[in-house]
């Protein structure tokens, strides 16, 4: 690289092509993707962050301008924000917990041989293909006490004292969207974990069996370690995705009753498009972004620590 004058005659011809191959050609392939992402996501992201420090309210079009941290100060004393934050937490934890464990179970089942496997696989993955608004409407129907079956069945099983409206009870309402989300999200974990399972070399299991390992030992000593990287990345991405996911709640409960299912994403949406207060909505979004980044960093550090051991 340094001894330019000692370059062999042939090499000077090769250099443009080297430059082309490492600097230009790949970018020709990536350019459309990069341009789209930059224009549709990154530019609005910067604008969105800047809104958080401005007064941008379409209902008060003449009171605009920079307000510093005013939006965040309002946020700090906003009871609804803290409620939405704790709801976001429960919504996310509840959804991811059941999605992950049921998805893992399904992946383990699908990784064995059984009769009618192809059909079963297509059927159990189906919820992922159902449009969210539709699953929300269907589950809202199923939970409806006058026309839906679930409250009656739960009452018959003795879980509910009487067939009342779960979605209308502030203490229980969150279970509605969480159930719908679990139903919708199991296939994602099943698909990705199944893919990871299928990449584990079969000889490992043969060796374990010869050594007389129990099923539980095989699972904890071979399967889990192999799955760990996939589990880490999918759980992280899905947590963030679920925390941001407003559609189900938006359609099923609209954040009610009494804000008991209001999560930060639905709060952002209603603040922006019902109250038309884009500045405040952006402040909430920036707060959410900060929390998710913090979560991602903690998880990545943890993962690095755990992998080292």
């Amino acid at each position: 690289m340094t001894a330019i004058d000692s370059v062999a005659p042939g090499k000077s011809r090769a250099r443009p092509s080297f430059y082309f191959r490492y600097m230009v050609e790949p970018y020709l392939y990536i350019a459309p993707a990069l341009i789209l992402i930059a224009l549709v996501m990154l530019v609005p992201l910067v604008i969105g962050i800047s809104y958080a420090f401005q007064a941008v309210n379409l209902l008060r079009p003449f009171q605009t301008g920079w307000v510093g941290f005013e939006n965040f100060q309002a946020l700090w004393s906003d009871r609804k924000f803290w409620l939405a934050l704790s709801n976001t937490f429960w919504w996310t934890i509840g959804s991811i917990f059941f999605q992950f464990f049921l998805g893992l179970g399904l992946a383990l089942l699908l990784n064995t041989q059984f009769y009618g496997k192809r059909l079963v696989q297509a059927l159990v993955f189906l919820p992922w293909a159902v449009p969210t608004f539709l699953s929300a409407l269907t589950w809202a129907w199923l939970f409806n006490p006058t026309i839906g079956p679930l409250p009656h069945w739960l009452a018959a099983l003795g879980i509910l004292s009487e067939p009342f409206n779960i979605l209308g009870d502030p203490n229980l309402a969150m279970w509605g969207p969480v159930t719908a989300n679990v139903w919708f999200g199991i296939p994602f974990f099943a698909i990705t974990l199944l893919a990871a399972l299928q990449s584990i070399p079969g000889e490992l299991y043969e060796a374990a069996e010869i050594d007389g390992a129990t099923a539980w030992q095989t699972f904890t000593k071979i399967t889990l370690p192999f799955l760990a990287p996939m589990i880490a990345i999918t759980v992280m991405l899905r947590t963030i995705w679920i925390a941001n996911f407003a559609d189900l709640i938006f359609v099923m409960t609209g954040g009610g009753p009494a804000n008991s299912t209001q999560i930060l994403s639905t709060y952002i949406f209603t603040t922006a498009f019902r109250k038309l207060d884009f500045g405040y909505a952006s402040a909430i979004a920036v707060a959410l972004l900060g929390l998710l980044l913090l979560y991602a960093v903690i998880l990545l550090v943890l993962r690095r620590k755990l992998v080292k051991i």
Partner: protein, 280 residues
Amino acid sequence: MSALRRSTPLAVTGKYLALAFYVGFALFPLYWLAKIAITPDKLIYTEGTALFPSRVTFENFSTVLVATDFLAYFRNSLIVSLGTAAITTCVAAAAGYAFSRFDFRGKRLVIALMLITQMFPLLMIIAPIYKIVAAIGLLNSLTSLIIVYTAFNVPFATFLMQSFFDGIPKDLEEAGMIDGCTRFEALRKIIMPLTLPGLGATLGFVFTAAWSELLFALMLINSNDTMTFPVGLLTFVSKFSVDWGQMMAAGVLALVPSCLFFIFIQRYLVQGLTSGAVKG
């Protein structure tokens, strides 16, 4: 693959019971959706908890198709979803190919950039996008939806395509290039045919994602002419004072394209992810 272990009858029974549980859980809401759609209006309230309707009608379907704007919504959704899926797959295939085959300056940065887009709350950019789309006069246009959906789906689709390309040996196109093809010719004649399942899976994945998107459609579209299916279905609730039978019939119709696509692609999805996982 790993089923070397002798299975006891009890374990086998347990396995089939567990599978039955998953299939039942997955299909139960869909069954109920279809059941309401074919139940006559008068019976919807009286037979709410019955497993089977005592009478069956297809009136709801004919009403939805003839007397409402759902065919138009259906067409709009089809245009948006097919457009998004086609453009996203092309863009993502190109980018995924570059990720899979080139080692280039700034590669890690570009990948990190794409990962970051998966992390920040999309709701954060909803307001600026609304203002930008309004400013360039694209509110209520299907074009704006296609552009936004494409950008949102490109990162994941790129990673998906990359894992498919990773599953195809590099030697193949190198052999082609030695035989005198340019890289692009090798890509078109040798690699593309091999990655057709991957392209299909990506196409189907993006199609279903675009087909079911609600919030951006809700925000960017409010004229009846350009309404997509999800928005149309939601307005149904207020417009027709919740005619559940018709709404569920429309819902069943909304299910058809995405489910067909999905049943076709799910095998390839697992395959593609597996080849990516092997690579690590």
